[in-house]
């Protein structure tokens, strides 16, 4: 990861897109201070309502996680505890953060289950994750994440493991929860269609860097960075019919062999000499948007 920067406002949905290994999940885990043992934040800051998360003690951090910032993962089956009832897992944040008594917590958990659309919550409450379908499990995760009314929800590929019809239901749920609670959502995904449907702003990442940022409409309909452009052109579209797709040549560099200069240059159709040696800055476009590509340096 190298010099990634983004912000998300109250009630905003920020889509973070990129292919596997581009650093989407690692950025989110750094913000939550949950990096695996082989990862470390060397420098930088993460400000949450003016408070630098990186400078908090582990104890202070525990009061933030799950209460003020929540995280939901891609695979609900491995993120939920198989030996605890789903009801208890939704109650747990209340009990850990000591905001409610056990009895109140149970009532609140049932309410949350209703809110996220779980049919007959009283019966489901005492069931285990393996009793539920993938979509239901993801709803349980969302309910648990929302229990303490966090002001920021980080959703890491929340619909990737789900079928399209269930994905549509979960996205609809996230949108309506945002409406009700005005929480900010960071939605990490590799699916440009998902971003286009729910996000307000989009951050495109490639090989550990952020390369383009702007409103969803702008980035997806008028992409600037050659990578964003290539990504959009490689997706088969329902509306039109092409005989051959237009893929990006080559493949994503490995973390241990990152190219110099612009990290996209070996795959870029418009790479110039400068791209091979110098790192592009962030060149602003309209509004808050920017693109990290020399093509737009003087635009």
């Amino acid at each position: 990861m190298d010099d990634v920067s983004f912000d998300v406002g109250e009630g905003e949905i920020l889509g973070v897109v990129g292919e596997s290994g581009c650093g989407k999940t690692m950025s989110m885990l750094s913000v939550m201070r949950l990096l695996p043992d082989n990862g470390r934040v060397l420098e930088g800051s993460a400000l949450f309502r003016g408070m630098d998360i990186m400078s908090l003690s582990e104890r202070e951090m525990c009061a933030v996680r799950g209460r003020r910032i929540s995280l939901i993962f891609q695979d609900p089956l491995s993120a939920l505890n198989p030996s605890m009832t789903v009801g208890y897992q939704i109650m747990e944040p209340f009990l850990i953060h000591r905001t409610l008594t056990k009895k109140e917590a149970k009532e609140a958990a049932l309410n949350l289950m209703r809110k996220v659309g779980i049919p007959s919550p009283e019966r489901r409450f005492s069931e285990y994750p393996h009793n539920l379908s993938g979509g239901m499990r993801q709803r349980i995760m969302i309910a648990a994440a929302l229990s303490c009314r966090p002001s920021l929800l980080i959703a890491d590929e929340p619909t990737t493991a789900l079928d399209v019809s269930i994905q549509a239901q979960i996205l609809e749920l996230l949108l309506s929860l945002r409406e009700d609670t005005n929480m900010a959502i960071i939605l990490v995904t590799h699916d440009l269609g998902v971003v286009s449907e729910v996000a307000d702003n989009v951050l495109v990442m490639y090989a550990g860097r952020d390369i383009e940022y702007g409103t969803a409409e702008e980035v997806l309909s008028r992409p600037k960075h050659p990578y964003t452009n290539g990504l959009l052109r490689s997706v088969p579209k329902l509306e039109d019919d092409v005989f051959m797709l237009d893929p990006i040549a080559g493949s994503i560099p490995r973390a241990c062999e990152m190219p110099d200069g612009c990290r996209f240059h070996p795959r870029c159709p418009s790479a110039a000499d400068m791209c091979r040696s110098e790192k592009p800055g962030r060149y602003p476009g309209s509004g808050n948007s920017y693109v990290s590509c020399f093509l737009y340096r003087n635009v």
């Binding site: 399209v164 019809s165 269930i166 699916d191 286009s196 449907e197 329902l238």
Partner: protein
Amino acid sequence: MVGESGCGKSTLAHSILRLIRPDSGSARYRGRDILSLNRTELLEMRRKMQIVFQDPYSSLAPHMTAEKLIGDPLRVHGCRSEASIREMVVKLLCEVGLDADCLHRFPHEFSGGQRQRIGIARALILNPEFVVCDEPVSALDVSVRAQVLNLMRSLQISKKLTYLFISHDLSVVKHISDRIAVMYMGKIVELADKWRLYANPAHPYTKGLLGAIPSLQGRRRGGISLSGDAPDAYQRPSGCCFRNRCPAAELVCKIEEPELKDVGHGHMAACHLQGPRGDESVPSAAMV
């Protein structure tokens, strides 16, 4: 072949190739029932029918080099000359877009896209006529997925292949297919030419699926197009298996299981509410 997880796409594909043995029924290839072949006949038939698996990570043996992985089908089918095996492997490697110096590399030395190219080469080394592609691009990233789809299309043309292409991704299926079958809970609920299917889906499940695809055209969100979950396969509802999620279900859907029937121009659908439509509804007896 498109459908959501657990609807039986892979089971169907494996039964066709007799990788699993169905309880009943038949699978005919050029008129011969594959399920009644004996060992030798089956081996001979498998030359013509191959499969590309979904996960290029678990479907390649980690201790075998690319050369062995791709060349082994030839050895199984009795080719004894190592020199000619190598020659064929090298030729095919080039055709799938890999260099000859990949020969001695192991699967972990390749990226996901390259591994899938090896999987494709392995399926094509025997010059099959029919290839089952079981979610061949689902595990790949967007940019690499497009490369592999292009490769599969050009191989289809150059080698005159027939594909049974299985995917849960409706855009990918539409891109690569001529005809599309939609599966739900172990049944084909709709089967049509791709243009007809996408322009004019007949089955309510297909309509719902098409409505659920996220579109790049920005916010569409006309509410939820398919509510609820597919029922447990062990607790199939009576009648039509889609009826508990169907917005238009009627009494007949609860009683009788709909058959796959022609709803016009060869467009097949298994739905009670779709018959030969309006003025086209000439009873077939009258046509005789």
